[in-house]
Symmetry: C3
Subunit: 137 residues, 3 copies
């Protein structure tokens, strides 16, 4: 069994942003030389998500608006007693889904026709890391 | 390390439907010969979910009604500017949870007493594929 | 490839509770001797979640209050026709996220600075099991 571990670092200029990270993941897979296995893609920060969906800007707006409706910013969250102001970001990350596991088949990420991997940042403007770990052969 | 990769194809007669796919997954595990490992079950389409919960029709209705309340159909979603009409289906899939990883122990799917794997379709009536990938020994 | 499988059993005194299970997971990893791989952490009961977020009590209250708002208890759910009264617990578990996969690197759980693994119980006061399965080398 081989394993390959890398960090991706992303700094979003905006507080909230969705970004397609599929090309970076394909690059990490290629350098690993692994042809059959699984890839875990997990944000190392707890106000961000990694998820798979369509790379379509309108949909990304819909996701952000839906999450704002379900877990609004600007509320007096209990978490804010610690001095933090990002309670909504922690909640949004859980509702969207925190991480994904991808199949690696014949040396490639094994996707359906519209599947793309995205990073969703809810508390950005700082460097954030995403852990990518592949195991296989 | 062994790996085993299969597609399940499902066409739901209704637009939205929840279906227990545990027997199909057990069949794929059996043909793999893998006795210890992990199985990824991932819909290859981005308006569907794979999740684990009770195989109880009333609960499935509750899930569908809750998702309709949180991400209603019939809204004028930004995604619809592309000509699509299924914006709510993309949102529902994210809220329910997109994929699962299952444990394989002594040649069987390692479940608690009520765990069953389900496919939730939010934009059906067409053939859809689910990727099943097992790695282990 | 090595694999290591264990159950954690938890009985929460309260019906709903969030508990940090990171120390127990680190103990299971240590006894496995696995240094590179993946760890699946999956509740074997379908009214509970395993998720990764900050170990901060205020945030845990915010999560519980948000989930109660999105999937309220005390409703007349279809699931209750079976005699059950915990329909909301099944729904909350799906919205929060049912399971996690963790990276194992150099013999340790590979986390960002604030990542902690939590068990969220929505129908407690009974012994519940969490399946922990590690594969790797």
């Amino acid at each position: 069994m081989k394993s390959h571990t890398r960090n991706l670092t992303i700094t979003t200029p905006r507080e909230r942003e969705i970004r397609d990270i599929t090309p970076e993941l394909e690059g990490i897979l290629k350098e690993s030389g692994i042809r059959e296995g699984l890839m875990l893609v997990n944000p190392m920060h707890i106000t961000a998500s990694v998820f798979v969906n369509d790379a379509e800007d309108g949909l990304h707006q819909d996701l952000m608006e839906t999450l704002e409706r379900l877990a609004p910013s600007g509320r007096d969250y209990h978490h804010h007693r610690t001095g933090e102001t990002n309670g909504d970001a922690h909640l949004k990350r859980q509702l969207l889904g925190q991480q994904v596991v991808l199949a690696v088949t014949e040396g490639r990420l094994h996707f359906g026709p519209w599947e793309r991997v995205h990073y969703a940042e809810f508390d950005g403007r700082r460097p954030k890391r995403i852990l990518v770990k592949i195991i296989g052969e």
